[in-house]
């Protein structure tokens, strides 16, 4: 999206430059409207000058040309060539010419002196939210009034209704207009032919239905798109009103719901265009639609229209030219008689639930230029006859259907396509030869199309105008050319998961996205890639060797995502200079230095650290390399770092306290589940080309492939498989957003810190294969999201705590290799004087109970050892104690013997 806007901005800039030059070098052209005969009426000139004074022209505007006596020669002013009176005032601002044009002051009522004015255009000026002046209603002869996109606010003065001659009223794009009382003025515009209120919020205008029903019969064009209207379509007063001569009705982007009623359009026989995209309409199109003999365009995209497509098409008038039904719930198959609809030039049925074959009749639609059937469950073959007469076809979207292209290898299509997407169709195994004739292509999608062929030699020449190229997920082979610079319009090239060989080519200047992952690209990275605007460079799973040249830094200044994982790179990471960045087109959040957000180098042989500041780094994946020594403390200064994977290197030393203070991984407010700003920006870009980019992360003991936005919900710290020593710092508990913590296979000692309960988001905890000792802290049970735990092969001891999530870990192997651990889920019973805990299941107050038992156990041990320990170490106490016990025993013995003797004697007496 960002790319799109930037390129259009470029276009606009160039265009505006041309315009400016035109204005400078050919004054005749700019005076075209004023070169007519007739001199200016003095009173009108004074009125215009008064008007000019009220306007803030600080940044220059066309009013600056308003000098000299003959106001008829001023820009934007047109006088009648009979009377000399000013009849037309066209003060529309060309935003390319005057991007800062400002008209914040009052509009002078002096304009009323222009009694003969019939045309007034103030669009694209900036009136700072002020009300439309009341005197606008006093231009008795006004036929054309354009106040669109001029930032008027407040309510519309009812005086506007006095403009009974008005034919054209445009209020579009004044977001701040607050319309409550439409009936007061709108119905009185009795000559109105064209009414445009698009992008004006009408949600507060409760009388809009009534106002519409009172509109004059002269109305031809009604644009109410994006007006926040929320109603059933049945409540539209079309049937009962006078406006039966409407030619264009635009209701796009509102909240119209319910079905399209039968009677609604009953007598709208003049209707040619009906725009309803992006509402919530349901049900089938009414049969009466067939009576709209003049209907050419109907747009119902992204509604909930359902039912059989053939039935729907039967209800359409034969002359229909543009049928937009994408993004609904239509089912059934396309009818064979589709060839009757000879006027069709646009057919959009994508993103429905259509089934069956594409009928051959479609090949007879000689006027068809746009065919979109993507994401349906269509089956069968596409053959030559489907295209027989489609000489005008320019756009063909069959993405994600189950169609098989079965055309003859020598077929020469009758069309010249500009945009074609056949991804997830079956095109292979041979590379489709018919593409060779398609030299106008700007968009080519053939991802996952079952092609297992060599890329033809002609291919690169044919697609020389391409902007978007996606051949991913095939088995296309061939050597990439040394340079792709001739693809001068290319913005995205996606060739991942094929069998391309050769070196990384020199790339076109404007390229934004390059994905060559999972191919056989070999050799070193070139010193000069020739690119400036590249945002994504994805080269993982290739055979690239050598070092990463530092020249890359200067060439890849816009780079956001760099994935070089699973290659054969060695040496150190480049030392990028931060000062040399003069190119900073986009910005705000990118303060200093490189723009890199994601860096993945895992599984190479890199050995030296990133020597530069990468302030925007969110992901740093350096798993399986040859980094050694301490973990550099400067990593903790990366404020946005949320995934750090240094697993399986040769790192040593302790885990420094400052290292566990990654700002992005700590919780800054109670519910910081939002993306960080940098990540959010990337996500916006990724969503455009949604699927190709993904990251593999090991968590929960599995390799998971994170895609799309979910990449940025991951917070992970993986230092496993190194030689780290020392204790796990207590401060690790601050990393409350961490979802994955893996410190396994190191030489860590000490206890598992009690602060571990601070890792509130933790889902996966792996501390296995270290030398940790002590008991497992029972507080571990408060981590309610913990779903994977591995504490095996340490020196932990005591009873395995229970409660909360810990009770859901029934696999004893997660505790194996700790000889002194006992209790469930291990088979080893805890003997008596070990720390005891209840065998009872966890209650609501389970944690309190366990701490009670814990302290009871501790109390017992304490008391026991106080007595027993003293006896053990103090001989005199011991002697006294045993003498005392002996004495007691003796007394007891004597007492018992005597008692027994007496008892026997009594019994015998009886």
């Amino acid at each position: 999206m960002a790319k799109l806007t930037s390129s259009t901005t470029h276009g606009v800039l160039v265009l505006s430059l041309c315009l400016l030059l035109l204005h400078i070098f050919s004054p005749a052209l700019s005076l075209e409207t004023t070169k007519l005969r007739g001199s200016c009426v003095a009173s009108e000139r004074d009125a215009l000058l008064t008007f000019k004074e009220g306007i803030n022209t600080l940044h220059g505007s066309l009013l600056s040309s308003w000098e000299g006596q003959d106001c008829c020669r001023w820009r934007g002013v047109l006088c009648s060539n009979k009377t000399g009176h000013v009849v037309k005032l066209d003060l529309r601002v060309n935003l390319d010419e005057f991007p800062w044009a400002s008209m914040s002051s009052n509009i002078s009522p002096s304009l009323l002196a222009l009694e003969h004015l019939n045309y007034l255009d103030l669009s694209f000026n900036y009136f700072g939210g002020q009300q439309i002046p009341k005197f606008m209603g006093s231009f008795k002869n006004l036929k054309y009034l354009n106040l669109s996109n001029a930032n008027f606010g407040g309510s519309v003065p009812p005086q506007l209704g006095n403009l009974t001659m008005l034919r054209h009223l445009d209020l579009a794009g004044n977001y701040n207009l607050h319309l409550v009382d439409l009936v007061a003025w709108l119905p009185r515009l009795s000559s109105l032919k064209h009414l445009d209120m698009s992008y004006v919020n009408l949600s507060a205008a409760v009388d809009w239905v009534q106002a519409l029903s009172m509109l004059p019969a002269s109305l031809r064009i009604l644009d109410l798109s994006y007006c926040n209207l929320n109603a059933t379509l049945a409540s539209l007063p079309l049937y009962s009103s006078n406006i039966t001569a409407l030619v264009t009705l635009d209701l796009e982007g509102n909240d119209f719901h319910g079905p399209i009623p039968d009677w609604l359009l009953g007598n709208m026989t003049s209707l040619e265009e009906f725009w309803l995209r992006g509402n919530d309409l349901v049900g089938m199109m009414p049969e009466t639609m067939k009576n709209l003999h003049k209907l050419k365009v109907i747009d119902l995209r992204w509604n909930q229209i359902n039912g059989d497509i053939a039935e729907l098409m039967e209800r359409l008038p034969h002359k229909i030219q543009s049928l937009y039904l994408g993004g609904n719930n239509l089912n059934g198959s396309l009818p064979n008689w589709i060839d009757n609809m000879t006027s069709l030039s646009t057919l959009d049925l994508g993103y429905n639930s259509l089934t069956g074959y594409i009928p051959s009749g479609i090949g007879k639609l000689t006027n068809l230029s746009y065919l979109e059937l993507s994401s349906n469950q269509l089956v069968g073959m596409i053959l030559e006859y489907h295209f027989t007469s489609l000489t005008r076809l320019e756009t063909l979207y069959l993405y994600n259907t189950s169609l098989t292209m079965g055309v003859h290898p020598n077929w020469i299509p009758p069309f010249r396509l500009k945009e074609v997407d056949l991804s997830y169709c079956k095109l292979g195994p041979h590379f489709p030869a018919w593409i060779q004739s398609q030299t106008n292509i700007t968009f080519l999608g053939m991802s996952s199309a079952g092609i297992t062929d060599k890329l033809p030699n002609w291919f690169w020449n044919v697609i020389s105008r391409v902007q978007y190229l996606d051949l991913s997920l095939n088995q296309i082979s061939g050597v990439l050319p040394m340079t792709l610079e001739f693809l001068s319009t290319a913005e995205s090239i996606i060739l991942h998961s094929n069998q391309f060989k050769g070196r990384l080519p020199k790339l076109p200047m404007g390229l934004w996205y390059l994905d060559l992952s999972r191919n056989y690209i070999s050799g070193p990275l070139p010193l000069n890639l020739g690119i400036v605007e590249l945002n994504f460079l994805l080269l993982s799973n290739n055979l690239i060797s050598g070092t990463i040249p530092s020249s890359l830094c200067n060439q890849l200044q816009s780079l956001e995502v760099l994935d070089l994982s699973n290659n054969h790179l060695s040496g150190q990471l480049p030392q990028c200079q931060t000062s040399g960045n003069s190119f900073r087109a986009k910005s705000d959040w990118r303060d200093v230095g490189c723009y890199l957000v994601i860096v993945s180098f895992y599984n190479n042989s890199l050995s030296a650290w990133i020597g530069t500041r990468l302030p925007n780094l969110v992901f740093l994946l350096l798993k399986y390399n040859m980094f050694s020594g301490h973990i550099p403390i400067k990593l903790s200064k990366l404020d946005h770092l949320q995934v750090l994977d240094l697993a399986h290197n040769n790192l040593s030393g302790t885990i420094d306290l400052s290292l566990v203070k990654f700002k992005a991984m700590t919780l800054t407010s109670p519910y910081t589940s939002d993306l960080n700003t940098i990540a959010a920006n990337i996500v916006e870009n990724i969503d455009v080309y949604s699927d190709p980019f993904s990251l593999f992360v090991i968590t929960k003991g599995q390799i998971l492939q994170y895609r799309k936005v979910n990449i940025f919900f991951l917070f992970s710290l993986d230092l496993s498989g190194n030689s780290l020593t020392g204790e796990i710092p207590e401060q690790i508990g601050a990393l409350a957003r961490l979802k994955n913590l893996n410190l396994s296979a190191n030489r860590l000692i000490g206890n598992i810190p009690e602060t571990i309960n601070g890792l509130l988001s933790l889902e996966s905890l792996d501390l296995s294969n270290n030398e940790l000792f002590g008991e497992i802290p029972p507080i571990l049970s408060v981590l309610t999201f913990l779903s994977h735990l591995n504490l095996s092969y340490n020196n932990l001891l005591g009873r395995i705590p229970s409660g909360g999530q810990l009770e859901t870990f029934l696999d004893p192997t997660i505790y194996i290799g700790n000889n002194n651990l006992c209790g469930p889920p291990t088979s080893k019973n805890c003997s008596g004087n070990q720390t005891t805990m209840s065998d009872l299941p966890e209650h609501e107050d389970g944690y309190d109970m366990s701490s009670f038992y814990l302290s009871m156990g501790l109390g017992f041990a304490m008391g026991f050892w106080m007595i027993f320990g003293a006896l053990l170490f103090k001989r005199t106490w011991r002697t006294t104690y045993f003498l005392f016990v002996d004495d007691i025993c003796d007394r007891m013995y004597v007492f018992m013997v005597l008692k027994w003797a007496r008892l026997n004697a009594r019994i015998k007496k009886k």
Partner: protein, 214 residues
């Protein structure tokens, strides 16, 4: 030689290319359907993107190595709303941890379809209605905690057939009738049933109907 060494790699590639990229993702759809009815003020479900090929990278969801959902861990998450019947479609689910939230409404019968379920922790919610009789089909169940809800009715006798059941907690509800004594119930302590004012002690088989007083 080089091409030989690439053979296994290309085989993997072939597998990658051949694997269905757009597969029917019924478990993801089930979870997504569940989500749409829930209120999630702390955004714990925000990663549940239904356009992904499977739900295995959704947080709080865990899959086995064949990408089948085996865990749902959403304890203490401030979630409110109904427990959708869609949960019953997670055929391979082993752990259903939804404790201490604000789930409300009935426990759907469909949860009885979770034949692999080992642990069901629904305690500390606002669940109403009866304990479904279909729970008698949960043959793998070892932990069943429904305490601290608003459950009514009697304890289904079908639960006595759950031979693997090690722990049950039905305390702090509004259950009635008597407590079964067969099967695993012979070992459960009285605390598992306390604070159900209308629950009348152990079942007296043959003397009093088990749902006496309901």
């Amino acid at each position: 030689m080089a091409s030989l060494s690439l053979l296994p790699f290309s085989f993997v590639l072939f597998l990658l290319a051949a694997s269905p990229v757009i597969s029917t993702n019924s478990e993801g759809e089930a979870l997504h359907a569940l989500r749409t009815k829930l209120s999630d003020p702390t955004n714990v479900l925000q990663s549940w993107d239904p356009t992904l090929v499977n739900p295995c990278t959704w947080f709080h969801v865990t899959c086995d190595d064949r990408n089948r959902v085996i865990r749902l861990d959403l304890g203490n998450s401030n979630i409110s709303g109904p427990l959708g019947p869609e949960l019953g479609r997670l055929q391979h689910l082993q752990y259903l941890e939804l404790y201490r939230n604000n789930f409300e409404g009935k426990i759907p019968e469909e949860l009885g379809n979770l034949k692999n379920l080992i642990s069901m922790d629904l305690y500390g919610n606002h669940l109403q209605g009866q304990i479904p009789k279909s729970f008698g089909k949960l043959k793998s169940l070892r932990f069943l905690r429904l305490n601290n809800n608003k459950l009514k009715g009697s304890i289904p006798r079908e639960l006595a057939s759950l031979s693997n059941l090690k722990v049950i907690d039905l305390s702090n509800n509004d259950l009635c009738g008597t407590i079964p004594i067969d099967g695993p119930f012979s070992t459960f302590p009285p605390q598992s049933f306390e604070n159900n004012s209308r629950l009348n002690g152990p079942e007296l088989q043959g003397l009093v109907p088990y749902d006496f007083g309901c």
